[in-house]
């Protein structure tokens, strides 16, 4: 018989717990799959919502800001917005779902053990799925605008943009999930926070044309700024400002470390609090 010996102790030693996560990878898959399935259950058009949401938003923004922004973006304005929205939606829905995930799954947490990190993690994977569903529409739009595409930029830009989006969404969502278990105030803070972040994310306007220094600084502290600018550079061929990239990527890594540390430190007591 394969003997696995372990100890249950009052304070767990701090560890990343990545081997345990990989042991439970099937559960990550099942939770992600459940979240996706349930999100579009009982809707008439199902997955089409994942495409429709950014598309409608794109029309609204183009209609509102189109005149003002004319000629200020390298890409056609609707395309520029759509590219930003695709990633932004991953972040906003991922952070919202992951932030609330501990409470929506409280009944499971109270009854069975598995690494708690699986719950916010699968919420984020669920949001990435929406991104994949939106991709074909992006290709259609690119075709419509005669394929503005820079393969060399895309080779680095697209993977790093997706990775950065995933990391910042995961970091922010996990931190908020742990905080929400302890302080229910965060249930109300999260939607508000996501809204504020939207305005300091370069979806509506590219970072280059922001002249206000304070706003520029805020933009570069936003982890999503680098992700969106890198994604765009695959299509407009303009590399983002390295200083801004550095600030934005560092802030997302700092957030990740902070989130991981806080989550690991508090997770053992989730079952008592949730």
């Amino acid at each position: 018989m394969n003997r696995t010996e372990y100890e249950i102790l009052p304070e767990k030693k701090f560890s990343l717990g990545l081997d345990e996560l990989s042991h439970f990878r099937e559960l990550i898959f099942f939770f992600t799959w459940r979240d996706i399935k349930i999100r579009y259950k009982q809707t008439v058009i199902g997955f089409a919502w994942a495409i429709l949401q950014p598309l409608l938003m794109m029309f609204v923004i183009t209609f509102t800001f189109g005149k003002m922004m004319e000629g200020k973006t390298h890409l056609p304005y609707p395309l520029s917005i759509f590219i930003g929205l695709l990633l932004w939606n991953v972040f906003s829905s991922g952070v919202t779902n992951a932030g609330n995930s501990m409470l929506t799954n409280a009944h499971i947490i109270r009854k069975i053990y598995f690494p708690r990190l699986i719950i916010p993690l699968s919420s984020v994977f669920g949001s990435l799925f929406d991104f994949l569903v939106g991709l074909p529409l992006l290709i259609v739009m690119l075709a419509w605008y005669h394929f503005p595409f820079h393969p060399m930029n895309a080779l680095i830009g697209i993977p790093s943009a997706i990775l950065l989006t995933f990391l910042s969404t995961f970091a922010m969502g996990t931190l908020l999930a742990a905080l929400t278990v302890k302080y229910r105030d965060f249930r109300y803070i999260i939607p508000f926070l996501v809204q504020i972040l939207f305005f300091i994310t370069p979806v509506i306007m590219p970072t280059r044309i922001v002249e206000n220094n304070a706003l520029r600084f805020l933009l570069s502290c936003n982890p999503m700024t680098s992700a969106i600018e890198l994604f765009r550079c695959s299509f407009n061929g303009i590399w983002p400002d390295p200083q801004l990239l550095f600030a934005s990527i560092s802030s997302s890594l700092i957030l990740l470390v902070l989130a991981f540390y806080y989550f690991r430190k508090t997770e053992t007591y989730f079952a008592d609090l949730a």
Partner: protein, 394 residues
């Protein structure tokens, strides 16, 4: 060989916040930085210095009253909540069933829920696929595999849930009171399955109020009281010790005065032992004005709310008090009542459709012993709350 489970001096405390909810609000936390007083909290020890060992293949029952710490102990063993102090050494794969059907989602189909639930319980996908047909067969829900769970009857949901759990193959199985639900036939099936499990050399930790089930399944028993081990050892002797330690009495008193005759104080106590158990009810009636000839009635319901019956102590003499109060003692025979929790409601009035006072759910009592001596078959709720005495006469 080393024991498969070693529990060493395990304690668990909770902080009870008197005027707060169990979770904090941000404001409280910020405020407490400035004001260092924790005056409104109190430490409660759910478990205190628990130590015991479990050898491989043993099945151990854990018994005790509500609040004795049984569930907390199981939660610590399942890693759901950490102990406050102490240490547990585990030498095997644990599966814990604190509930069946954890994670079931009403919108997903039966098939999908089997995979989700199995995975939550720690099974691999390949393992679930392999056992899928058996699981469905055991649950008897094959016709509804692709129907969303919300259209299942509660019995069907439960059968499906238990079926998944029944095919877990851990080395150590932790089970909390999950047999207390479901219909009788299915319960028989489950107990049979659990006996198979324990015979196949796996280790079982089993918490239950149903002492018959404990007796059938467990070779030894731990009796918990107020978070400590009161006694442990061979099943029969521990259970009989537990039964003797039970003496239930409860008291209720009216919170305010009324203008009509009313119950001022009621206390109940169990007297004697099975099969001739009696419930003694002392009650005090206060009558501020006139009172017509009245009688009292006591309703007995099970802990889950199902009526068992109504006892009306002799109608003659009627009770009649003018501007005074009086105390009465009555006695109810609990012939054939099965183990379980019961609630008492008290009624007083002059006519069956005219009520002076009706106090619902004033006091509860628990019966722990079967009315049938030497009975080993459990008392599933679906078989009712009373076992009429019976015999074979020819």
């Amino acid at each position: 060989m080393k024991p498969i489970l070693e529990i060493q001096n395990v304690s668990k405390s909770f902080r009870i916040l008197h005027d707060n909810q169990p979770y904090l609000s941000l404001r409280d936390s910020i405020a407490s930085i400035f004001r260092r007083s924790a005056s409104s909290s109190e430490i409660f020890w759910a478990l205190k210095e628990i130590s015991f060992q479990v050898k491989q293949g043993e099945s151990i029952g854990i018994i005790g009253k509500n609040g004795a710490g049984k569930s907390t102990l199981l939660k610590i063993l399942s890693k759901i909540t950490p102990p406050t102090s102490g240490k547990i050494v585990v030498r095997g794969r644990i599966a814990s069933l604190l509930e069946v059907g954890t994670g079931f989602h009403p919108e997903l189909s039966g098939r999908e829920n089997v995979f989700l639930n199995g995975s939550i319980l720690g099974m691999k996908r390949a393992e679930i696929s392999k056992k899928f047909d058996e699981i469905i067969d055991f649950s008897g829900t094959e016709k509804f595999l692709d129907t969303p769970l919300k259209h299942y009857s509660s019995g069907m949901q439960l059968r499906l849930a238990f079926a998944v759990a029944a095919f877990l193959e851990p080395e150590i199985m932790i089970i909390d009171e999950v047999l207390a639900v479901g219909d009788a036939e299915f319960q028989r099936k489950c107990i049979g399955k659990m006996e198979d499990v324990s015979r196949s050399g796996r280790t079982i930790l089993f918490v239950s109020h149903d002492l018959n089930a404990v007796q059938t399944l467990c070779s030894s028993v731990i009796h918990l009281e107020h978070g400590q081990i009161k006694a442990s050892g061979e099943t029969a002797s521990i259970i009989s010790g537990y039964l003797n330690s039970q003496s239930i009495s409860a008291e209720w008193s009216a919170s305010r005065k009324k203008e009509q005759p009313y119950f001022e104080k009621i206390s109940i106590a169990l007297k004697g032992e099975q099969p001739s158990l009696k419930l003694e009810i002392k009650f005090r009636i206060c009558s501020p004005g006139t009172m017509r000839n009245s009688f009292v009635a006591f309703n007995i319901a099970t802990g889950s709310g199902a009526m068992v019956g109504q006892a009306i102590p002799e109608l003659d003499p009627f009770i009649s008090i003018e501007n005074a109060e009086a105390e009465f003692v009555s006695e109810i025979d609990l012939n054939g009542f099965v183990p379980g929790d019961y609630m008492i409601s008290a009624w007083v009035g002059p006519h069956f459709n005219e009520t002076y006072d009706w106090q619902k759910g004033i006091a509860g009592f628990t019966i722990v012993d079967s009315p049938q001596k030497k009975r080993t078959f459990p008392h599933p709720p679906a078989h009712g709350a009373i076992v009429p005495s019976s015999r074979i006469i020819s």
